[in-house]
């Protein structure tokens, strides 16, 4: 197992390099001088531009430039934001906890609700429950996440006043401890639900299909023949195996979910990496935009690795090669 994990960790290295190379290519595709991308449109003194040009070797051949770019990235130097007057890595690190909190909360809701709906649907295919679950999945799949977010604000925040419409904490009430946690939780509800609503669709469909398949297996019939209760058969026998594809797809789908998270954070002014990217877009702060993409991609690759390891733990049939 340790060797398997080590091998998978090593595989991350070329993938992370690929992310950096993709960025390098994009920066050089840009019209005009790459230095403009490195400083953003916030304006920089000619001296600083010259310094950057030298530091990133922009006066040297392209291959050398790529090498220098990779070196900088490997050292964690993703550039400097003139707008925020801070290093890109530092900026992103300060925003990461908020994004992680939102992502884990929404994932918990989406998985819990999605799997439950999927099991309920598979229990009686083509029943009313099943059709309702299909409709929920279809609607969730077709809704733009930023629109459902705006509607939830309109309904539950501005009209009914149940939840705050944005941010992560109430300004000017420096609540700490339990009260502070409660404050954050109140702010978390709407963005987490918004994002979960979109993402649970996949889980409903997948769990349903996977359950329907597993339910035809002999061991399920055996369990039923033994006289086990319906619930025990469904949850303890069938669901355990039916969840395996759900785990896999969660890994592959993380990248898509992150896209939704950027939009959701923007709608709710949730102070995570997504809002940071949004602010950077408004000010054409390219180092932050490019750096965020790089770091988030590597984070997604790592999370994917975690999911794969989890899969290996859950499924004893997997060989750790």
């Amino acid at each position: 197992m340790a060797r398997y994990i080590a091998r998978r960790l090593l595989l991350i290295v070329p993938l992370a390099c690929a992310v950096v190379v993709v960025n390098f290519v994009i920066v050089h595709l840009a019209p005009g001088d790459p230095v403009n991308i490195l400083v953003g449109e916030y304006g920089a003194t000619p001296q600083f531009q010259a310094e950057l040009r030298h530091r990133y070797g922009l006066d040297r051949p392209l291959v050398t430039q790529l090498g220098i770019y990779l070196q900088h990235a490997a050292r964690g130097d993703l550039g400097y934001s003139l707008y925020f007057n801070e290093s890109v890595v530092g900026l992103i690190a300060s925003r990461l906890p908020a994004t992680l909190l939102l992502m884990t909360s929404q994932l918990a809701i989406a998985l819990g609700l999605g799997v439950t709906l999927g099991v309920a649907a598979a229990r009686r295919p083509y029943s009313l429950t099943d059709n309702c679950a299909s409709v929920v999945a279809l609607v969730g799949y077709s809704m733009p996440v930023f629109w459902s977010g705006l509607l939830l604000i309109l309904l539950l925040s501005t009209t009914l006043g149940w939840f705050p419409s944005g941010g992560m904490t109430t300004v000017r009430t420096a609540a700490t401890g339990l009260a502070g946690a409660e404050d954050v939780l109140r702010h978390l509800v709407l963005p987490a639900i918004t994002l979960a609503l979109v993402n649970l669709a996949l889980y409903v469909r997948l769990t349903r299909a996977s359950m329907l398949e597993v339910l035809t297996f002999d061991y399920v019939r055996t369990a039923r023949a033994k006289g086990l209760a319906d619930r025990a058969v469904l949850v303890r026998h069938a669901l355990r195996n039916a969840l395996l594809p759900v785990v896999t797809v969660t890994g592959v789908d993380l990248g898509r979910m992150v896209g939704g998270a950027v939009l959701t954070e923007t709608v709710f002014a949730w102070p995570g990496v997504g809002t940071l990217m949004y602010t950077a877009l408004q000010t054409r702060d390219y180092p932050v935009i490019v750096g965020s993409f790089m770091l988030v991609s590597v984070a997604v690759l790592l999370a994917n690795l975690l999911v794969d390891i989890l899969y290996a733990v859950l499924d004893p049939r997997i060989q750790y090669r």
Binding site: M143, L150, E213
Partner: protein, 296 residues
């Protein structure tokens, strides 16, 4: 890298007789798919006739700002007094154009990559599949943001960015089909007669991969429309065009005063993507009757 996800495939309900019907017949019998097709036709008509359907210009100031829906302005007006109905109708053009062109770009790229990987197998396959998995796993929406931001937002950079990032799904489907068919007799026969590689790939094997490509492309149009709307919402839309995402972006500051500003453009996106998903699912069921999800 990620393990292959299991396609959501439900077994056929037991004792259900297999219908012998044409693809069109199966599609027509699927009421959800019909509803989707009708909605889609209405949307296409609206986009085509935008000029005469619009009750005013979507871009010029027409009347009182933030007027609620009522006679003259069925969907109300925005903060600058622009007619929202007209914006929604003109926005349909942008959304459908971007959606179709981006999805077709993705389909072409996916077919090329998938066909090359599946036909040649061996190391080209390994290499191409690693690249495919890479693009499948990384956050492509973020990459699209970077691309459009760096290349400057315009209709064409948006289509290119979405199209260039949407191909991995199609590539995997096409590759699977090619791997399954490359050793079959009809391919051997074509080779024996002396047909060229290109001819075998495109004329002999590819037609067999058409059904999954059609389905994934029709679902891809919806996904591309969602991405375009998301980009416009973040301020990465074409600055010279009215789009649904841009209208939603503008509505953010006026949620309290004008519920109609976010409601109608968002509804337009939702209905469009929903109809495309219904049609895509319907096509899937009609083209792959053995994998049918909905009861016949």
């Amino acid at each position: 890298m990620a393990t292959t996800p299991t396609a959501p495939v439900a077994p056929r309900p037991p004792h259900q007789p297999r219908r012998r019907a044409s693809v069109a017949g199966r599609f027509m019998r699927n009421r959800a798919a019909d509803a989707g097709a009708v909605m889609l036709l209405v949307l296409l008509a609206a986009a085509a006739l935008a000029g005469s359907l619009a009750t005013g210009s979507a871009q010029s100031i027409e009347s009182a700002p933030l007027a609620p829906p009522g006679p003259g302005h069925v969907f109300g007006t925005d903060d600058l007094g622009r007619d929202i109905w007209s914006g929604v109708v003109y926005g349909a053009r942008v959304s459908l154009l971007v959606g179709v062109l981006a999805a077709v770009t993705s389909a072409v790229l996916g077919v090329l990559v998938g066909a090359a990987a599946g036909y040649y197998a061996g190391w080209p396959d390994d290499l191409l599949m690693r690249v495919t998995e890479f693009f499948l796993v990384i956050p492509t929406f973020l990459l699209a943001m970077v691309l459009v931001a760096v290349l400057r937002p315009s209709l064409w950079t948006i289509i290119a960015a979405i199209g260039v990032l949407g191909w991995p799904g199609t590539a995997r489907l096409v590759r699977a089909e090619f791997l399954a068919l490359r050793e079959r007799e009809f391919v051997m026969a074509a080779r024996a007669i002396g047909h060229g590689t290109a001819r075998i790939i495109f004329r002999q094997i590819l037609p067999n991969a058409a059904p999954p490509v059609i389905v994934s492309t029709s679902l891809g149009v919806g996904a591309a429309i969602l991405t375009e709307a998301g980009l416009s919402f973040l301020g990465l839309g074409d600055p010279n065009l009215v789009s649904w995402g841009l209208m939603l972006r503008n509505s953010r500051e006026f949620l309290r005063q004008a519920w109609w500003m976010p409601t109608f453009p968002g509804l337009a996106i939702f209905v469009t993507v929903l109809s495309l998903n219904l049609v895509g699912d319907g096509l899937n069921d009609a083209l792959n009757p053995r994998l049918r999800r909905t009861a016949g």
